[in-house]
Amino acid sequence: MFVRITQRDLLLAMRRRSDVLTTLFFFVIVVSLFPLGVGPEMSMLRTMAPGVVWVAALLASMLSLGRMFSSDHVDGTLEQMLLSPQSLSLLVLGKALAHWLVTGVPLVLMAPVLGIQYDLSADSLLVLTASLLLGTPVLSLIGAIGAALTLGLRGGGVLVSLLVLPLYIPVLIFGAGAVEASAAGLGAAAHLSLLGAFLLASMVLAPWTTAVSLRISME
C-alpha cells in the first residue's frame, strides 16, 4: 500500500508537471540571484555558498508543502485514507516519500551545477550534494506535520512556514556546516552523521505525528 500511494502521488505529479517545475525554478533562481547581487568576489561567494543553497532549498520545499494534503482534503480522498484498514502512518510515509522524490531529488541533482557559480571545489560540491541528499527528506517529513496541522485553515501557507521553519533550523545548521567543515579541512563526517541521525529520527516520529495531526484536523 505504501508503494501504491507513492505511485499515485508520482502519477498525479506527472499529470501536473507545472507544480514540480515551479519549485525547481524557484530554487535555481534564488540561488542564482546571490552571485549577481553580491558581485564576483570569489572568496566571499565560496564562504556564503552552502548557506545560500541550503536556505533556498528550505524555502523551495516549503513552497510545495501546502499541496501535500490539501487536494486530497478537498476532494475527500483524505477521509478515505483515514478509513483505510492500512496504517495511516505508513500512508503518510508514502506521501512524504513521493513529496521528496518530486521536490527534493531535483534540488539535490541541481545543486552541484549551481555550486559552480560559487566557485566551490569538487570536494565541497560532493559534500554539499551529500548533505542535501540526507537533509531534504527530513524537510519533507517535518513539513508533513506542519501541512497536516494547518489543513483546511485560511492562510495556512503562512502559518505552515511559522510552524515548520524553526524546526528546520538544525538541518540548516548541520547541512551548511558540513560544507564549511570540509572546506576548512576538518572533514564532514560528523555533520553528515548527525544529518543521518535526524533523518532516521524523523522517519520514525514524523509519520506518526502527522497521522495524529490529520485525525485531529479532520474531526
Binding site: T77, P85, Q86
Partner: protein, 175 residues
Amino acid sequence: MQVGGPNGSGKTSLLRMLCGLAAPAHGEIRWGGSEIRSLGGAYFSDMTYLGHLSGVKDDLTALENLRISSALAGTEVDAGKAQDALQLMGLGGRELLPAKVLSQGQRRRVNLARLLVCDTVLWILDEPLTALDAAAVKLMQGVMERHLVKGGMIVMTTHQEIEIAAATIQRLQLS
C-alpha cells in the same frame, strides 16, 4: 437502515460518527460488541463509507480512480474486474478519460463502482443517489438489494423516494 430528516438535522454527522471520522460527545459506537476506536483497522476492513465528497481525482482516469480507491480500502482490484464494474455502472468506453471531463453524475458513478468490487459487510452511504439519473438509481437499487440478500447491512441517507426490498428495514427520522 434509512436515515431521514430535514437539512441540518445531523444525518451526515451521525454517519461520520458511525464510520469513526468524528467522535460522539456522549456514548460509544460498537461493532460486534467492541468499541470501534479500539478495533481500528479491523473495523475499517468491514466497512465502506461513501460521503458527500466523491474522492475522485480530477487528473486520474476513471479506471485509475477506482483501482486506487479500492486499494486504499484494502481490496486490490485487477484491471479486468475494475473495467467490468465501470461497464456495469454505464461508464463503458469512458474508463480511460480523466475524471475532470466527466459530468457530476458520471463521477458519482465512478465512486459508486467501488461498492461493486468491495467485499465489506457494512455500507455507510451519505446521499448516494444525488446527481444520478433514473436508470442509475434503479441500478443502485439492484446493487443494494443484492448486498442485503447476501447478508450485508446498509446505513444510508437519501431525500429521494426509493423502495428497497429487504427483510428488515428500519427508518430513523431525525428532527
